[in-house]
């Protein structure tokens, strides 16, 4: 495989809170390759958004990078000063936020918000920026862009606003697009249109995408590779097919079997308890307390990554050669069987 265009090595991020230090991200490694969509899944508080904020240098004031490197274009962005980010943020790496309403300035015309990004990129003057903005609006599927150019965010629907945010993110022709739950606030029909748009823009502009979500179902059609995060750590990563057809970590099992698909009849698998308090991350495997498959060692020592295939790794002691053999929850095993049948896959 080629060299990754963005590489995160052993990154740890923590926040100073009133009650102590919150260890939001703990020693994670990520690689983003050219032209791929890397999905990071996890529940709220798992550290997925914090990771991308650390990459872009937009951590809140009480947050800091404790250790690790973020390698982009041969430089370590973890050591960057605010000034150094000016040529990266919004130019080489762009961000699409979850809530399109709060990402837009309510008292600025839509056209101005797009041309602002264009003019800042230094490649356009006022006149050519307007032309380019209208092209961008057309590209992201806004009908009557000349008319819409003069309107304000409140005159747009949620889906249309998200399209504008995507247009702004693409204005400077970035190399990497980070999407932080871009469809969570939207309806299913609008969601599928926005996902399609992101895919289309990826192909057209040769983008690499980091896509953050808490819903595994949303990303099945976009993801090339998937990282599953829990309590600030990556617990499993692999290609989309690895994760959906051969999940190996009990947390991935739990995530997959807690959502019903259209043929689910069985009782849903629910994860007992709540995610751990990151003020004092538990010893050993953070998921052990909620995991019915947990072994004694899970409470003592953090599991390393075990290799399942060249692309697929999972951090669980269950994969240790000496571990007892356990089966994934029945509801999930059934679904995978159904999926294999429907797609004509034989082992």
């Amino acid at each position: 495989m080629d060299k990754p265009i963005l590489e995160v090595k052993n990154l740890s991020v923590s926040f100073n809170a009133f009650s102590g230090t919150v260890r939001a991200v703990r020693n994670i490694d990520l690689e983003l390759y050219k032209g791929e969509t890397l999905v990071i899944v996890g529940e709220s508080g798992s550290g997925k958004s914090v990771t991308t904020k650390a990459i872009l240098g937009i951590l809140p004031k009480n947050g800091r990078i404790d250790s690790g490197e973020i390698i982009y274009q041969g430089e370590d962005m973890a050591k960057y000063k605010e000034k150094d980010f000016y040529n990266i943020r919004g130019k080489r790496i762009s961000l699409v936020f979850q809530d399109p309403l709060s990402a837009l300035n309510p008292i600025m015309k839509i056209g101005k918000q797009i041309t602002e990004a264009l003019i800042l990129s230094g490649k356009y003057d006022k006149k050519s920026a307007k032309k380019r903005a209208i092209e961008l609006m057309e590209a992201v599927g806004i009908p009557k862009p000349e008319l819409r150019y003069e309107q304000y965010p409140f005159q747009f629907s949620g889906g249309m606003r998200q399209r504008i945010v995507i247009a702004i993110a693409l204005a400077s022709d970035p190399e990497i697009l980070i999407c932080d739950e871009p469809t969570t606030a939207l309806d299913v029909t609008i969601q599928s249109k926005i996902l399609e748009l992101i895919n289309e823009m990826k192909a057209k502009n040769d983008l690499s995408i980091i896509f953050i979500t808490h819903d595994l179902g949303v990303v099945a059609n976009m993801a090339d590779r998937i990282c599953v995060m829990y309590a600030g750590k990556i617990v499993e990563f692999g290609t989309a097919e690895d994760i959906f057809y051969r999940p190996a970590h009990p947390y991935t099992w739990a995530l997959l079997s807690s959502i019903p698909d259209l043929d689910t009849k069985e009782k849903l698998f629910s994860i007992p308890g709540a995610p751990p308090n990151m003020l004092a991350p538990p010893k050993g495997d953070a998921f052990a307390q909620r995991n019915k498959y947990a072994l004694a060692i899970d409470f003592e020592e953090e599991p390393p990554f075990f290799k399942l295939s060249d692309t697929h790794y999972a951090a669980t002691w269950l994969l240790h050669p000496d571990a007892p053999k356990v089966e994934m929850p029945e509801i999930l095993a059934h679904r995978i069987e159904r999926m294999k049948e429907a797609n004509g896959i034989v082992d």
Partner: protein, 318 residues
């Protein structure tokens, strides 16, 4: 699944309409949030109401339980009309029998009341005067929804989202309602917690013999949870069928679009899947060509014109 052989409509909604008028710079504008919606909910079943935001599904729920005063139409509960003027007796009838679970577990609990006060308030209104009795019943209910009796003296902010939704469920159930209107009860929760709440609702439905009107936009969950499903679009109920039939035989183009947009946790078939998009302009509803409800087969209602009926039901499967 409940058997619908001895279909007894517990709730009957007839031509329900809810209009909101706004006045901007002296110009009156009417929003038809719910327009001429009729359906029945049978005893012991879960009826799912789906549609995108702004389609009027929440308004329908709220108009039924009289949080809004419907503009038109009638609602019958257990054979009795519950629309019209609310006197004290009728209000008691409604609030005794129907309870509601809200979407936002943070906004729907009073932050200054303890859990015991929140859950016990309904009992107080229902005339359980003895505080010891109230406290006993609140604690029993806490156990049933998967919390512990010690939680009774705490405040809502001390709980996680899933636990707060359990408090909301306990509050709805303590007055012993026959029917629950659950308005997006899981959409504000994390994935792993959603399953907990769905399983809890399913267990409680069995235990108390509840009838549930389940309002949601997540179709996989609605399919999993409901016996019958009504699809709403812009204030209209466009299609209604059993959940099996609706997914096998979606007839209205909006239903088709909605079903094709459901994300499925399968990367291989997802990448192949053809998405259908709905164009509301595609209907020809002008010049006396008015759509109405047609029963295409027993229990499957479709909102369309005569010509559309022919066109859409051409290749219907059994």
């Amino acid at each position: 699944m409940s058997t619908n052989e001895n279909k007894k409509a517990l709730l009957r909604v007839e031509k329900l309409s809810m209009y909101f008028t706004t006045k901007k710079r002296g110009i009156k504008d009417t929003v038809k949030a719910v327009d001429d919606v009729s359906f029945e909910v049978y005893k012991g079943e879960t009826f799912g109401l789906v549609g995108e935001s702004g389609c009027g599904k929440t308004t329908t729920g709220r108009a039924i339980i009289r949080l809004y005063d419907p503009t038109g139409g009638k609602v019958y509960f257990d054979g009795r009309e519950i629309t019209g003027k609310l006197d004290k007796e009728k209000k008691k009838f409604v609030t005794d029998r129907i309870a509601m679970i809200f979407q936002d577990p943070i906004a729907s609990l009073n932050p200054r009341m303890t859990v015991e006060e929140i859950i016990g308030e309904g009992l107080k209104v229902h005339g359980v005067k003895d505080p010891a009795e109230r406290s006993k019943r609140v604690r029993e209910m806490l156990l049933k929804v998967g919390l512990s009796p010690e939680h009774a003296t705490r405040y809502p902010h001390e709980f996680s989202g899933g636990q707060r939704q359990r408090i909301g469920i306990a509050r709805a159930l303590i007055v012993g309602p026959e029917m629950i209107i659950a308005d997006e009860p899981i959409s504000a929760l994390d994935v792993s917690v959603q399953a907990q709440v769905i399983n809890l609702l399913n267990d409680l439905k069995e235990e108390f013999g509840l009838t549930i009107l389940f309002i949601a936009h997540n179709l996989s969950v609605v399919k999993y949870f409901s016996d019958r499903i009504g699809v709403m679009y812009f204030g209209k109920l466009v299609e209604l069928a059993t959940s099996e039939d609706l997914f096998k035989n979606p007839l209205h183009p909006y239903t088709k679009a909605l079903l094709s947009a459901i994300p499925q946790p399968d990367p291989i078939s997802e990448k192949k899947r053809q998405k259908i998009f709905y164009d509301p302009e595609s209907h020809d509803y002008k010049d006396g060509n008015h759509p109405s409800y047609h029963e295409v087969k027993p229990g499957h209602l479709l909102y369309c014109t005569e010509s559309e009926l022919k066109e859409w039901t051409k290749d219907m499967k059994d």
